[in-house]
Every structure is written in C-alpha cells, then in structure tokens.
C-alpha cells in the first residue's frame, strides 16, 4: 500500500514537471494525520490500547483540467483512534470520482456527497472529527435547463465503514429561484424546492409484508424581503418498518418533520426564531436501525457551543420524536455610547427548549395506532433547555473580554439512552480574556465554572494560551471535577498543547488526560472514551 502511495505521488509530481507553466491541468490536495497514544489510567477509567499508539490519516488528491476533474482519497486507520468505531480498520482508497460539465449538465461518477434541501430526507456528508462519512457511490447528475431552475438526480449506495450499503438509494431534487426564472425585479425573493428520495431493499421477511421501495418527500420554501428571511421545509417518509419478526418492532406509520425559521437582521441587530417538529423521521440506507446507515440529517435545534463546560452536556436530536423551539438575538451596542464603550459591545442571547411528542412518535401496526398531537409543549417530558447570554467587549487596544452566563437542563436518561440519572441542571459562568503583550504576542486566559448536582457534579476549568504570531501557540488547561459525589472521582484532567503553523501546514502536539464525554456536531454525536497520553496532529494543503 505504501508503494502505491509513493507511486501515486511521484506520478503527481511528474505531471507537474511536464506541465509547469501550462494552466491546463492542476493537482491539489490535503493531508491530515492524527496520532494518539493511550496509556492506562485507572483513576479516570482510561483503557490502554494494545497497539500503544493509534493513528488516523487521510490524503485527498484532486486533479482539475478545464471542465473535467477527478480525484481520490486514501484513508489509513492503523488502528483507528478509540473514539472512532473500530470497524474503521486498515487502509484503502475509499473515495474516488470523476466529474465533467458540458452545456449546463454536470455528471459525476464514483463517490460524491449531496444534500437535498436542509437534509431532512437526504444528506450525504463527511465530518472527519466525528468519524462521520456516508459518501455515496454511484452516479449523480446536475442540470440547469433554464435560468433559475436547478435540477439534481442521483442513484447509488451509501458508505458504511469500508463497504457500501445493501439498499439502493435514488433521489431527485428541483429548486426554482422564482425571481431568476421569471426575471422578476422585485424586492421580495422566493425560492421553492421539492425533493424526493427512495430506498430499495428486497423483502426476505417470512412473517411481515415489507415495502421494498421506501420513499421520502420534502418541500421547501424560502422568502426573503429586505432584512426578513423566512425558511420552511416539510418532509414525509412513507412506511418504513425495520423488518423485525416481532409485531411491535415494525412501525408502518409515516414519518414527518417540519422545520421553520424566521429571521430579521439589520445593521447592528439580528433576531432568529426557529421551531422544529420531528416524528419518526430517521431515514437509512438499510432497514436495520444502526447509525452507520443513516442518510438524512435532522439538525439539533440548540446552539453549538465551543466552550468546554457549555458543551459538557450536549443535546442530540431524537429522530423518533421531539418538538423544539429556539430564539437567538444578536445586538451590538454602538461605539461611543454609554454601555458600548469606545469600541462597542456585542451581546448574544440564546434560548432553546426541546421536549417529547405527546404520547411518543407516530406508530402503526396491526395491533395499535398512534398519532401524536401536532404542538404539545406543556406537560411533555423535557429533553433539553438552554438559556445563555454572551457579552463581548474590546476594553482597550490590549484587552478583549468575553463573559458568558448560562443555565442548562439536560435529560441524561433520554439523550444518552441511560437509566437512573434523571435530568442534570447546571449553571455555567465563563470569562475569556485576551491580553496583547506586544506585537504578535498574546496571552489568553479562560476560566469556566459549572455548578450542578446531578451527573458528575460541579466542574471548574482553567486555560492559559500563549500565542506568537504568525507561527506558534502553546496552551495549558485543567478541568477539575471538584463537585463529584464520589470522592475518588474528584480528579484533575490536565492537558498541554503546543503547535506550529506555517502557511498551509499545521503541526500540533499535546499531552494529558481527556475526560470521557460526548462530542456532538449537528445532530450527530459520538462517545469519546477517557484517555491519557500524547497526541500528534499534522495537517497540510497543497
């Protein structure tokens, strides 16, 4: 495998040498390597890895010439990091494609990623940090028959680890930008879209009648007028039983999901109001209910937090059923005003609340039928609630500060599929101050505090980061679980990180203890086990 890679790279170099000044063909790519060592640490429950070090690496190469492009990705898991599913094992070229465009028609053969609307019925995407990759392997067409009309069609199988799904996925999408299509010069812009996806899998179940072609439809509307923007999408999924041999295992009910958001923004001010209702809407490339088959995306209706303690208890969308609302307000207090100070002050406010559907999700089989009420908030089980306020102020030329106050409720039983934990109520306070020592040298201090009774109790976190532009960064952090009810678990998780950046290369090494936790992006979460050891990250683009 290594020889193959060296040969590919040499071939790439030769091509460059042969066409040095000629702009007709280009080769570009990027490389990522993530290596970690795992030592045993009984205190934090960190398991050692038999291999001692684990490594994930990726190399992407793309070749473009005029309207043609082709490329591949080589992935190496020798073996995969512990927070990745261990089905990622070995090496392989797991992504290869060729695309060409001619007369408004774009054809792709091989692997591709695609999204229909907001992804409610179909989203094929990748997020290496999460170990998420459900690339499609097949054929995709994109066509612009008229100005403002965008058509897409595709067929293929979706990726599951090192192989592809059993089910065959077909999809099509039409989006019409009404103003462009009808050549309207109006202040109001309207975009409509309609998408369709279906999955074929043969029915081998001797006991139940199963549909072999399961379809999902979605319609979307986007209206924009000046500072106002409304966006809505409604999706339905027709009978999608999992193919169980037990009656209560097979749910023939149609699933549905509704996403709706209204935003208004003007200079210095913005407000967002969103809601979503999800009912039995997980769509997979196979009937079996396993996460590697999921091919749609229902985004979590909560703020994506970046500070550690705010993201300690992250919410994850329950695709079987939930109702949620979220409000965001962004405001900049003007420069020069009393509260604004010399540079202005930025305020961000966010509130989100997710609860269960009335009586659970839609259900239909020979013995029972249930359709939950459309809107039901009072009296339903609370899954998650987050109320937070962030204030950012540049105090003077040298000091910038951010302060955050938050209150969260996290239903650990439902969101983690566990028992006996109940809901964790936490109050969080964060201060993030950066001080410019001199040109290019900055020191940043973060202090975080989480007060809670449930879960593993209260936490404190401190971080000091020293950066030297343009190349170096150095950081030390400590997370201390001083409030854990189990005295033996009141531990310090200390971490040291440093790195070097230059142009398109980045090198970082770290050492320390990591707490077991859940790392979520969008609606996809992965469990990260606790670990103790070194880490090395190298990433580069060319």
């Amino acid at each position: 495998m290594m020889r193959k890679i060296s040969l590919t790279l040499s071939a790439a170099c030769l091509t460059i040498i042969c066409f040095p000044q000629d702009n007709s063909g280009e080769i570009h790519g990027d490389f990522d390597l993530n290596m970690q060592s795992y030592q045993e640490d009984k205190l934090i429950g960190a398991e050692p890895a038999d291999e001692i070090i684990l490594n994930n690496a990726y190399l992407n190469i793309n070749y473009t010439k005029g309207d043609f492009s082709a490329g591949l990705r080589y992935e190496s898991y020798l073996n995969a990091l512990l927070d990745f599913d261990d089905e990622y094992k070995g090496n392989g070229i797991m992504f290869r494609y060729a695309t060409y465009t001619i007369d408004g028609l774009e054809v792709t053969a091989g692997n591709y990623y695609e999204q229909i609307g907001s992804g409610l019925i179909f989203r094929s995407y990748e997020n290496k940090g999460l170990g998420q990759d459900n690339a499609m392997d097949g054929v995709r067409l994109k066509y612009l028959p008229l100005k403002g009309v965008y058509l897409k069609g595709f067929i293929g199988k979706s990726r599951t680890y090192f192989t592809y799904s059993d089910g065959i996925i077909r999809g099509a999408d039409a989006e019409i930008n009404v103003n462009e299509a009808l050549n309207l010069e109006s202040k109001t812009r309207i975009i409509v879209g309609q998408g369709f996806v279906s999955r074929f899998q043969p029915d081998i179940n001797p006991k139940f009648k199963l549909p072999q072609n399961v379809a999902a439809y979605s319609s979307r509307l986007n209206i924009i007028n000046g500072g106002w923007n409304y966006s809505g999408e409604y999706a339905i999924k027709l009978n999608d039983p999992i193919g169980s041999l037990t009656a209560e295992g097979n749910n023939y009910a149609n699933g549905n999901a509704l996403m709706s958001s209204l935003t208004y923004s003007q200079r210095g001010f913005g407000i967002v109001a969103e809601m979503h209702r999800v009912d039995h809407m997980e769509f997979r490339s196979e009937r079996a209910q396993e996460k590697q088959y999921i091919i749609n995306y229902i985004p979590t209706l909560t703020k994506q937090h970046t500070y550690t303690l705010l993201a300690l208890y992250p919410c994850a969308t329950q695709p079987e059923g939930e109702f949620g609302t979220q409000v965001d307000v962004f405001y900049k207090i003007k420069k020069g005003s009393l509260l604004g100070g010399k540079y202005g002050t930025k305020i961000s406010f966010n509130f989100s609340r997710i609860n269960a559907l009335n009586g659970g999700n839609s259900f239909l089989n020979d013995n029972s039928e249930h359709t939950p009420m459309f809107i039901s908030i009072k009296g339903e089980e609370l899954y998650f609630r987050d109320l937070n306020l962030e204030i950012y102020k540049k105090i003077n030329k040298k000091i910038k500060a951010t302060g955050i106050l938050a209150k969260q409720s996290y239903n650990k039983d439902v969101l983690e599929g566990k028992t006996t934990y109940g809901t964790v109520e936490s109050t969080i306070a964060i201060a993030d101050i950066s001080y410019k020592i001199k040109k290019g040298h900055t020191i940043r201090i973060e202090l975080q505090e989480l007060l809670a009774d449930g879960g593993d109790g209260s936490w404190s976190m401190g971080l000091v980061e020293y950066t030297v532009s343009p190349h170096w960064f150095f950081a030390v952090q400590d997370m201390y679980n001083w409030g854990n009810h189990d005295l033996e678990k009141q531990l310090h998780y200390v971490n040291i990180d440093c790195g070097f950046l230059s142009g398109s290369n980045r090198f970082a090494i770290g050492y320390g203890k990591k707490r077991a936790g859940i790392f979520c992006v969008g609606g996809v979460c992965k469990e990260v086990p606790s670990s103790n050891g070194f880490s090395l990250t190298i990433s580069s683009s060319f």
Binding site: M2, F31, Q115, F330, K332, L501, G522, I538, S541
Partner: protein
C-alpha cells in the same frame, strides 16, 4: 517507522508542489445570503486582490480573525482595493444564524454559504479557519491555516506584495 517515512515524504512533496504550480478556483457552486446560487469562479474584484476566508459561526478563531480584520478592512480597501470573501461552512444547524450574526457584527464582507462542504472539499480545506489570497488573475498565491492574534499583519503583508 513506515508511518514516519510516509509523513516526511508527503510533506516534502507537498511543499514542492505548492511552489511548482499555479492554482485557480475550482468550479463549485455556493449559495448567497439571498437564496441564490453562484459559481465561485464568477468572483470579481477588477483585478485587485481577493481574500477568501473559510469560517463558521461556531468557530472561535474564525470569528476572531474576521472581527480583527473588520477593524482594519476599510483601510485595507483604501490602500489595496482588496476584497474579502467569507465562505461560511455552517450546515443547516447554524446556517440560519449567519446573516443575523454578520449584520450584528457590522461586517462589510461578501459572504457565501457552503452548507454541505462542496467548496471546502474542492479547495482542500479540512479545518477552519483557512484563508486564501488570490492575485489579479484570480490565482491562489498564498494560504494559511488557523488563526493567531496578529496573523492579520502577515496577511496584509502578502496582500501588499501583490496589490497593483
């Protein structure tokens, strides 16, 4: 040992490659804040430099970079005619917050959305922030991963070098 060899070879070759060839924008569609779709190759700035910066509403260093540049942007534009195009890789979860966030932050950049990461992948971006500098022929002449307070000075040096 094999891994080390692979890494070192890879980096050596990449560095060579970055010098050896010119690089144009890939032909990929992005969405505008008005719901429209445009191809990134249609970006224009009358032959002046263009900075393309990939960011996301959940990326702290990205917001820091764009906020720090925002304070200097008017001066940069006066002196070099540079245009900064900010490509947000926010997906459906946070895409709706992009316009309000930008307005409330008082940014004057041209902003586009890349919700499924098509442009990000085509340009070889793996983590954000990732910033590119394009010359008058819209060729990528410089790029930088990550952001550290003060990096905007290095970016400006590069812009001045290619400004006409």
């Amino acid at each position: 040992m094999k891994k080390l060899f692979l890494t070192v070879t890879a980096i050596a070759i990449f560095s060579t490659l970055s010098i050896a060839q010119s690089r144009t924008l890939p032909s990929v569609d992005v969405k505008t804040l008005n719901g429209g779709t445009i191809n990134i190759t249609t970006l224009e700035n009358d032959g002046n430099p263009i900075v393309i910066s990939f960011w996301a509403t959940w990326c702290k260093p990205c917001k820091k970079e764009l906020n720090n540049i925002a304070e200097l942007y008017e001066d940069w534009q006066d002196e070099t005619g540079v245009k900064l195009v900010a490509i947000s890789i926010d997906d459906t979860r946070s895409m709706v917050r992009v316009a309000p966030y930008i307005n409330a932050s008082d940014w004057d950049y041209e902003v586009y959305l890349d919700p499924n990461g098509d442009l990000k992948r085509a340009m070889g971006v793996s983590t954000v922030p990732h910033t590119f500098l394009l010359n008058s022929k819209k060729e990528i002449v410089w790029q930088h991963k990550g952001y550290i307070d003060g990096d905007e000075d290095e970016l400006y040096e590069q812009i001045e070098k290619i400004a006409k």
